[in-house]
């Protein structure tokens, strides 16, 4: 490989050709400040518009100060990252940026977790000259079911635009207007609700400021908890237990399942359950549906559509409903675990404890913002009473715990309540890319072949590659599995399905890069993909430590079918646990 020799801050370094000054400096332990630049290695996600101009450096022989994030190293370059000229330029540009930013940090939901705030502090900005007469670009605030857009706080880093377009190919957001009024918005600066937005929340996950945040449902949850007539049931998704710790100073990948259960109980929830239980249930339903469709398909039944697509990710569901409505009979009809949980909680469990569904409030803790929208869908409520009342994100939960003075670090581990708190290792790995299909394979294999799996770990299905494929031997039947995470990757597989070129029997799709561990509601990764990888690894550890690792072995699932549902895909199961899809393009008409 061709290498380049250069000097940065008087230190010599040799780097591969194509390395930027920013990257080379990093290798030397020099952390050049930057606001807009974002690079998630391994995931092919990069945002470098070179727009913030904070990362400028001085290069010998160059007239101006080039941005280190997007300037390649060249032989003999002499780079200085902190000359007086550079420091003055950085400060002045930072003053510019702050001069066009609201100064209401005290009440901003991003306060304390805001890249802009941190940078202002780091660069030692103490005043913003000319504030008295400086115009500030202001825009209309927009609240959608999941996401709040407050563009007054936008610094035009363009990360959200990159996520929405290049990574997710959703195309809800674009840079609009020009000059001082330039910002990132949906078409016609309309509400997100009237756009193709899937609420995947990846824009929120990367926003360095408070311009894009989640809708806060804590007040509603508090109200429910305070209401003595309500029985408040909480469920928590697998990816939450490997990320929540980060909000309390633990290192990424810390498993806090026991502390999470304890904290939820301490917050006053009446029943602390686990979405993992519903994940096991999902496998029963989805796995059975897969085997049924596959069986009919192999017999030559033309009405059996193959591949079957997973349907537990609401961002993904929103995506195909908008962009591939013609394929809406291809995904599994199984509801997502969140919704299966709600449906069972407000029927089976409510009956069991003798509570009217109207007096039960189901709260979900999710790594996801699309879940907020999902639980508000009409088809997921009975007589205007939703199966899941409120969905709050990992971040919101962390804030909630802090408000309640609960010291997570010192909490003793506790268990989930029963019956909806028991789960297997298969359910735990739902939280990472490849996990759902691996869980499905564990169960489907044993049901299809009637044999016990020799090796439970399908390592061939794991990894961080955007599109993956593997062939699993189902006792002589080669089952072709496809996996995509990130909607842009999913689109590629969907295009093949639409064109009739897909070789797969089953495809797992997760809207967020990395799967739920990288969800839009998770603690911010601040551009570090190691964080996501650590969370995923933790889920596999949790799986390994579980005594039961196959969904169909969950004793409470078996009991649920015996007592209530009958068998997978029964009529009752269909009624409660399955759904249907819409052409969202027809549903979302831009209102003028």
């Amino acid at each position: 490989m061709e290498t380049i020799k250069l000097t940065i801050d008087n230190k010599e370094i040799e780097v591969p050709k194509g390395t930027t000054i920013y990257q080379a400096a990093k290798m030397l332990g020099i952390d050049i400040p930057t606001l807009c630049y974002m690079h998630l290695d391994d995931m092919n996600i990069e945002n470098k518009p070179a727009g913030c101009r904070i990362c400028v450096v001085e290069v010998n022989g160059r007239k101006n100060l080039p941005p280190s994030c997007s300037t390649d190293c060249q032989n003999g370059m002499v780079v200085k990252t902190h000359t007086t000229r550079v420091l003055n330029a950085r400060r002045t540009v930072m003053e510019f940026i702050l001069s066009d930013h609201p100064k209401d940090c005290l009440v901003c939901s991003k306060s304390g977790n805001c890249d802009l705030q941190a940078m202002a502090h780091r660069l030692g900005i103490r005043e913003i000259p000319g504030q008295e007469y400086a115009a500030v670009s202001t825009y209309r605030k927009d609240t959608s079911p999941s996401i709040i857009r407050d563009l007054d706080k936008c610094i035009l880093c363009r990360r959200c635009e990159t996520m929405c377009n290049t990574v997710q190919t959703v195309g809800a957001l674009s840079a609009v207007n020009r000059g001082f009024m330039a910002t990132v918005a949906p078409a016609f600066e309309e509400n997100l609700e009237y756009s193709p937005c899937t609420y995947c929340g990846q824009c929120v996950a990367v926003c360095p400021t408070g311009a894009l945040t989640e809708v806060n449902h804590i007040p509603q949850v508090l109200r429910a908890l305070a209401d003595p007539t309500k029985t408040v049931v909480v469920q928590t998704a697998p990816a939450v237990r490997v990320a929540l710790g980060e909000e309390f100073g633990m290192k990424p990948g810390s498993i806090v399942t026991g502390k999470l259960a304890a904290a939820l109980r301490a917050l006053g929830f009446d029943y602390v359950f686990d979405t993992d239980f519903a994940a096991d249930l999902t496998i029963m339903e989805e796995g059975t549906e897969l085997l049924d469709r596959l069986g009919r398909y192999l017999k030559g039944d033309k009405s059996a559509r193959i591949p079957i697509l997973t349907s537990c990710c609401p961002g993904w569901v929103n995506f195909f409903e908008y962009y591939f409505p013609d394929l809406k009979d291809v995904p599994s009809t199984a509801k997502s675990p969140q919704q299966m949980f709600g449906a069972i909680a407000k029927s089976y469990f409510a009956d069991k404890i003798g509570v009217n569904r109207k007096d039960m409030v189901v709260v979900s803790i999710m790594p996801c913002l699309a879940k907020k929208y999902e639980c508000q869908r009409d088809e997921f409520s009975v007589d205007n009473n939703p199966d899941v009342d409120y969905s709050i994100s990992t971040r919101e939960l962390a804030a909630f715990i802090k408000q309640a003075n609960i010291d997570v670090n010192s909490l003793d581990d506790e268990d989930f309540d029963n019956p909806l708190g028991e789960s297997t290792g298969a359910a735990v790995i739902f939280g990472t890319t490849g996990g759902v299909i691996e869980a499905a394979c564990r169960t489907a294999y044993e049901i299809y072949t009637g044999k016990k799996l020799a090796k439970i770990d399908f390592t061939e299905l794991r990894g961080m590659e955007g599109v993956r494929s593997a062939t699993i031997d189902f006792n002589g039947l080669p089952l072709n599995i496809g996996i995509a995470h990130g909607l842009g990757n999913a689109r590629k597989l969907l295009d093949d399905v639409r064109a009739g070129k897909s070789q797969f029997h089953a495809i797992e799709v997760m809207a967020c890069p990395g799967g739920c561990v990288g969800g839009g509601g998770q603690p911010l990764h601040h551009g570090d993909s190691e964080v996501l990888k650590a969370r995923a690894a933790a889920l596999y550890t949790e799986d390994k430590n579980k005594p039961l690792r196959k969904s169909h072995e969950n004793p409470f699932i078996i009991k649920l079918y015996e007592e209530f549902l009958g068998k997978p895909n029964s009529e009752k199961a269909h009624h409660l646990l399955h759904t249907h899809y819409f052409d969202r393009k027809e549903k979302i008409i831009i209102k003028h």
Binding site: P49, A50, G51, C52, R53, V56, N64, L65, P66, P67, S70, T71, D72, R85, N88, A89, T92, V93, F96, I97, S99, D100, P129, G130, Y133, A134, A135, I155, L156, A175, N177, R178, G179, F180, M181, A182
Partner: protein, 597 residues
Amino acid sequence: MSKYSMHLLVCGGTGCHSSESDAIVCNLRDELEAKGLTDNVQVILTGCFGFCEKGPIVKVMPDNTFYVQVKPEDAQTIVEEHVIKGRKVTRLLYKDPVSKEPVSDSKHMGFFKKQLRIVLRNCGFINPENIDEYIARDGYMALGKVLSEMTPEDTIKVIKDSGQRGRGGAGFPTGLKWELARKNQSDEKYVVCNADEGDPGAFMDRSVLEGDPHSVLEAMAICGYSIGASNGLIYVRAEYPLAIHRLQVAIKQAREYGLLGNNIMGTGFNFDINLRFGAGAFVCGEETALIHSMEGLRGEPTVKPPFPAESGFRSKPTNVNNVETLAAIPVIILKGAKWYSSIGTEKSKGTKVFALAGKINNVGLIEVPMGTTLREVVFEIGGGIRNGKKFKGVQTGGPSGGCLSEKHLDIPIDYDNLIAAGSIMGSGGMIILDEDDCMVSMAKFYLDFTVEESCGKCAPCRIGNKRLNELLGQICEGKGTIEDLDRLKNMSNVIKDTALCGLGQTSPNPVLSMMENYREEFVAHVVDKKCPAGHCRSLMEYVINPDNCVGCTACARVCPVGAIKGERKETHKIDPSICIKCGSCKEKCKFDAIFIR
């Protein structure tokens, strides 16, 4: 073909066109027909003569008579007097601004005397919508020459040796640019002509496209041959409908002659040209922004490198040249590198087209050898300052350039001298300012422009220029402090240092150069709270001189806000707290009693 003994050239450039030059052509033809002279006299609608100040222009050949401000109804007189009787129509002749005497022909006009027309060689000379006239002027001979007698390397060498530098603004050597594009291997390459002339007050590209479109097409084909491209694109402003029309006609004719298309002149070389339209964004003059715009995207620039020569349009090697640069190429090929490099200064070869505008007598388009002094341009060619006012400065390079003052009048104009003087060549707009122009307001005017045209991608340009503009506004309103001048300077330098593209990096130039050259005027605004040019309203005070006031009450009656009080036949007084400084009273006063303090 009829044997014409006289040609009547009517300017069909945008300036004259909008003053009904079409009607002039029609009337002339009608008159000639009525007099049975259609076989003797030919009427030709040409491109711009450059002398826009006095348009519409009619030039009579072969005697070079130069009629100015011709109206359609003058056609009859011209035909009856000049064509038939051979008597020049004196009242339509250009009058020397100093001697007030009519000038018999263009050869005697100061405006044309110092000019050397290479780029504009055919403007105002041929009918731009007739390819034959271009061919008669050795058109497409240069293309024929390179295709039949020269290798691409030879061609690039000629351009390199000629020393020509890009006329779009930055002055990058053309030959070097071509060489870089040639070196990058690719299955496909593109030649792009940047005709997105956005600098307000510059109209040289428009004039070339309108007056001599084929020269650009020919040059693009030569470039295509040299770098190995078979596709050309012209990115032209949608605001230039006439230029677009002429280009469309020219491309059609060139294709019909086989001078564009496949197997040009039997040499096996293929090259074709298509048009892309700009849509009103100054930043698209920057080549990466231009390329994004051609790709159907927002015209936002990207960091260079990679340069377009490596990865440009559709990520293929792309060579972008400006209209004026291209228009000179065929002449350089035919006359040789040595000839071209003998014109101009050591580091800036050839000629440069300038658009003179503002407070100057001869507004128009001129072409002079590099090295001509500002004084020659302003006072000899430009005919000096209008209305006998005092010269104050020249803004060169438009909103990206700087303002040169009296002390710069004798520097020879070339790329390096202008940079040394704190300005840039830019595309060649020259706005001449006189004593009535306030430099703080001018700096603000240019910032207004940049703020409006900034794409918004990078923070220093998006926000920094806005802040510069606001601070200048404060100063104009008398709210500035002496410390603000230091802030202006620091903000300007940081924007220059950190902005992403050429637009942002040069946007503070007007402020910096005006502060440098007219510092006392800035100081007057912030310290004395006065605008010496009498332009900034907030800093003006209308006062009545009791010595002159006779108490006629005319001023009090005209004042729209009732700020003037006084008894009849007694001295009046203006209440400055009410006065809105509209100036009506001063206009009305017959006794010169009202003055501005």
